[in-house]
């Protein structure tokens, strides 16, 4: 247990309610002002001078406390623990002895690959692995050097172990804390020796998460939990259609709601600023606003589907062309086509978005939020304030789910919160802008809707031609990433998983038609793969059926030479008992897909009851290279399967007359416990490069599910979610 757990416990034991005089004003009660510290622990401050700070990531205090400033954001994927394990391996200290806190915004914490501070693309572990080892090794080397100097011996005569430096002859030992001051005075070594992988004692072993106890007890602080004395809560009424704007506003009724302080117009809508969440919500409900419709006022899902499908029937921009698909098609024994569709999809993290802004006298601000993308939020906040970024400080929290939503390319929820704070700057208090679930689901920034036109050509019992046309919006156009993500007008994330298809089809063509639409879109766990893998793997099953082959065998043949894909495919098939027939009434489907440098295969078993799919079991095999924390890889794959099932079975965002049809978990249903199948995960290590984990478990679930449903019903599901399609 870390020393901050003790502080937390102390805080809890001091918690006491006093019966007392009623508080004053605004419905505020009560008894006693509970400072947030008494009930919930904000991350410990990293501002104070530590005795020993060998680099931007580590702080070692004289009392022995070791703090790791995590450059990646903890949104459930276990990265705080993962980074701590890697550091601990080289620092030679117990993982549980490390207090992990989110790094502030700063150049030292830039993503090693992307160049901006952030967490996404399933890259945290493999891109920070060597850097974290280095950070731990530098600290260890300096601590050892300090002890050696003190004992007047060569450093080679000392070693580090369990938070201590010991003399090899056993004659002396010193704790890291007692060496901190002396170590700080030593030069930082330019080069340090890293352990050989065969010496790893912590990397590769299942290690308890460092954040579990606080999260279970409710003492972990998330963005929405952040409080400051005098803080007000704001809620923004946004236009009901994308691109809309305020035509006429009558704030009077809202202002009469007890606890409402202000009603102000901001870029994104109308903000109601109040003493707390409930007053803000009631105030917002009392607003009378007339809206201009804007560009998105006529968006309609049924019409979009028709238009996208029409585009999928026509050639798009060629992204890849092997051989000659047209010639192969003309020469084929059989040419067949299908349309595959996926809807707009919301991330719906369990913790709705929020961002607190405290304006400073110098024109800057302190911003407290839950972000996957401080590297974008920070400059965007500074730009909104019209100040140099050095005047803006950021404090990150635990993220109650992210799935991509908290890495907004335009820093939407951060900039909006700045605007709200600016509009009520004269009040001189921190303002936390909060989102409701309805705001979250109706607020845009979805995974784009896609339509895929896929065609296959068979000759002499072999798949000789494949054409995949993709129609949808680009998530990069109009963002700061347009330059980096677009090549020759093609957004690589629109075609990932299709353009890099490894299957040995001699005549292969991938085309893209990019649509422009007023719906704001962004990355959603597994990004383009969530669409392309569905179309690709489902259509492969259609091809297998045409050539009379089993889905597993058919894939094995097409993937000849792709060792890592074959390894996970074989493992999943074996663990699922592919060659044994499934129980009566149960169908079984299989898929295999590479994404984010990770390789995953899924077998899904499902039946149909009253026209509704019932998923019985999911077996998954994953190869992500060297594994840091096996149990968390399993956890991620289990969670990814359930996340993927929600979007495969039931959740979607649709539009009628420009308005989003869904608003909460009743009409945006996600998988509940009684619907959740067991997910068996098997880690495969083929000795390949380290790769991604968090998103890798998503793409293959929907196609394997649809193959299973086809086996029991004889029907192809070509549009997600499955919903009621099997009822009719």
């Amino acid at each position: 247990m870390s020393r901050h757990d003790d502080a937390r416990r102390e805080g809890l034991s001091r918690r006491a309610f006093l019966r007392g005089a009623a508080g004053s004003g605004g419905g505020l009660v009560l008894a006693l002002w509970f400072g947030p510290r008494l009930v919930a622990r904000p991350f410990s401050s990293v501002e104070g001078a530590a005795e020993f700070a060998p680099n931007a990531f580590l702080r070692i205090d004289g009392d022995g406390g070791v703090t790791l400033l995590a450059k990646h954001d903890e949104m459930g994927q276990g990265i705080h623990t993962g980074l701590a394990i890697v550091v601990a391996e080289e620092l030679e200290i117990d993982v549980a002895a490390i207090d992990v806190v989110p790094a502030p915004s700063g150049p030292a914490y830039r993503h090693s690959l992307y160049g901006v501070q952030g967490t996404g693309g399933s890259t945290s572990t493999w891109t920070s692995f060597d850097q974290m080892r280095q950070a731990g090794a530098v600290a260890r080397t300096m601590l050892v050097a300090a002890a050696a100097a003190e004992w007047g011996v060569d450093a080679a005569e000392c070693s580090a172990r369990d938070g201590k430096v010991v003399r090899r002859d056993g004659s002396a030992e010193r704790s890291y804390g007692s060496l901190a001051a002396a170590a700080a005075a030593r030069p930082v070594p330019a080069e340090v020796a890293l352990k050989d992988r065969s010496e790893f004692r912590r990397i590769g072993r299942s290690t308890p998460r460092v954040d579990s106890p606080a999260k279970v007890r409710g003492t972990a602080v998330f963005s929405l939990d952040q409080r400051r004395p005098g803080m007000l809560v704001a809620m923004v009424e946004r236009p009901p259609t994308f691109g809309g704007s305020v035509k006429k506003l009558d704030p009077d009724a809202a202002l009469r709601v007890p606890g409402v302080r202000r009603v102000v117009e901001v870029e994104s809508g109308v903000a109601v600023v109040a003493d707390g969440f409930w007053a803000a919500k009631k105030g917002r409900e009392a607003l009378v606003v007339e809206w201009n419709g804007g560009l998105g006022a006529s968006i309609d899902t049924a019409r979009l589907r028709r238009e996208y499908t029409r585009l999928a029937e026509r050639p798009g921009r060629v992204v890849r062309s092997d051989g000659d698909f047209e010639a192969a098609a003309a020469d084929a024994d059989e040419l067949f086509e299908a349309i595959y569709e996926v809807p707009f999809q919301a991330h719906a993290p369990m913790e709705p978005l929020s961002c607190m802004v405290e304006l400073k006298a110098d024109g800057g601000a302190h911003v407290v939020t839950g972000s996957q993308f401080l590297g974008i939020d920070h400059p965007a906040a500074a730009a909104a304030l019209g100040v140099d970024p050095s005047r803006v400080t950021f404090e990150n929290s635990f993220l109650g789910g992210g799935f991509g939503r908290r890495a907004n390319p335009k820093a939407d929820f951060t900039v909006e919160a700045i605007r709200v704070a600016q509009a009520v700057a004269d009040l001189g208090v921190p303002v936390k802008t909060v989102w409701t679930r309805e705001d979250d689901l109706k607020g845009g920034w979805y995974r784009p809707m896609f339509v895929n036109g896929v065609a296959g050509a068979v000759k002499d019992g072999k798949l000789v031609g494949w054409r995949h046309r993709i129609v949808g919006q680009s998530i990069a156009v109009g963002t700061a990433f347009e330059g980096a993500m677009l090549e020759d007008g093609v957004d690589s994330t629109s075609v990932e998983g299709a353009a890099d298809m490894p299957h040995g089809v001699p005549n292969l063509r991938v085309e893209l038609s990019t649509v422009s639409l007023a719906v704001p879109v962004q990355w959603w766990r597994s990004v383009g793969h969530s669409n392309t893998a569905f179309a690709k793997e489902c259509f492969l099953d259609e091809c297998a059926e045409r050539v009379g082959k089993d889905g597993y065998e058919f894939r094995r043949e097409l993937l000849r030479g792709h060792g890592r894909l074959l390894a996970v495919l074989d493992r999943a098939a074996e663990e699922a008992g592919w060659t044994d027939p499934p129980p009566a009434g149960v169908g079984r489907g299989i898929s295999v897909h590479e994404s984010f440098k990770g390789f995953a295969a899924h077998v899904v078993e499902a039946s149909v009851e009253d026209g509704r799919p019932r998923v019985r079991r999911i077996v998954c095999a994953i190869d992500c290279g060297l594994v840091v924390n096996p149990d968390q890889v399993v956890s991620q794959m289990q969670g990814a399967a359930i996340f993927a099932l929600s979007s495969a079975l039931s959740s979607e965002i649709t539009f009628t007359d420009g308005r989003v049809d869904q608003g909460n978990f009743d009409d945006f249903p996600i998988v509940r416990l009684h619907e959740a199948p067991p997910v068996d995960v098997h880690i495969v290590d083929t000795g390949g490069e380290m790769g991604g984990i968090g998103e890798v478990g998503v793409p293959g679930v929907a196609p394997a599910l649809c193959a299973a449903l086809h086996q029991v019903t004889g029907r192809r599901i070509r549009r997600l979610p499955v919903g009621d399609q099997l009822r009719s």
């Binding site: 918690r15 009623a22 009560l30 279970v216 409710g218 992210g402 799935f403 509940r672």
Partner: protein, 159 residues
């Protein structure tokens, strides 16, 4: 009219408007932010607390109904044996991912185990299907509940 209620064993007087959901009294007025907000319509269970021992969604429970009641939040979960067993099982099974829903999950699990110390799978389904987890930790939640039930039964046996 102030509303008198008991929260985690301590008498409290609340002056919020009577329609204010208990959730916002806990979070905004008392600073008890362990109880989470997820939907505002009793659809997700993130705000689950106990009112007179029963699992209740605090986001849809107007504070006026709390008058004279005994309310327990996650902040006092470890004050009972069942609560301690649930926390221990949750940590031991590594259930947590993002963690936002977990206090609510644990409060539902505690209410279930207090009523049914040896729940069947159907009991678990019925008690827990109102608690959503977007991270998809359900397999481990099920395991943790079984583990907590077993641990409590073992303790009972050794008494």
């Amino acid at each position: 009219m102030p509303i008198e209620t008991t929260i985690n064993g301590t008498a409290v007087r609340v002056e919020s408007t009577p329609d204010t959901p208990l959730l916002w009294v806990l979070r905004d007025e008392l600073g008890l932010v362990g109880t989470k907000f997820g939907c505002g319509r009793a659809l997700c269970g993130a705000c689950t607390v106990h009112v007179d021992g029963r699992a209740v969604r605090a986001c849809a429970f107007p504070i006026r109904y709390a008058a004279g009641k005994e309310i327990r939040t996650v902040e006092s979960i470890e004050e009972t044996e069942v609560g301690r067993a649930v926390v221990e099982a949750w940590v031991g099974e590594e259930v947590v991912q993002c963690g936002w829903c977990q206090p609510g999950q644990c409060m539902s699990a505690v209410a279930l185990l207090k009523e049914k110390p040896a729940p069947t799978d159907d009991d678990v389904d019925a008690a827990m299907s109102g608690n959503l987890c977007r991270c998809g930790t359900y397999t481990r939640i099920r395991k943790a509940i079984r583990g907590a039930a077993r641990a409590l039964a073992d303790r009972e046996e050794n008494r």
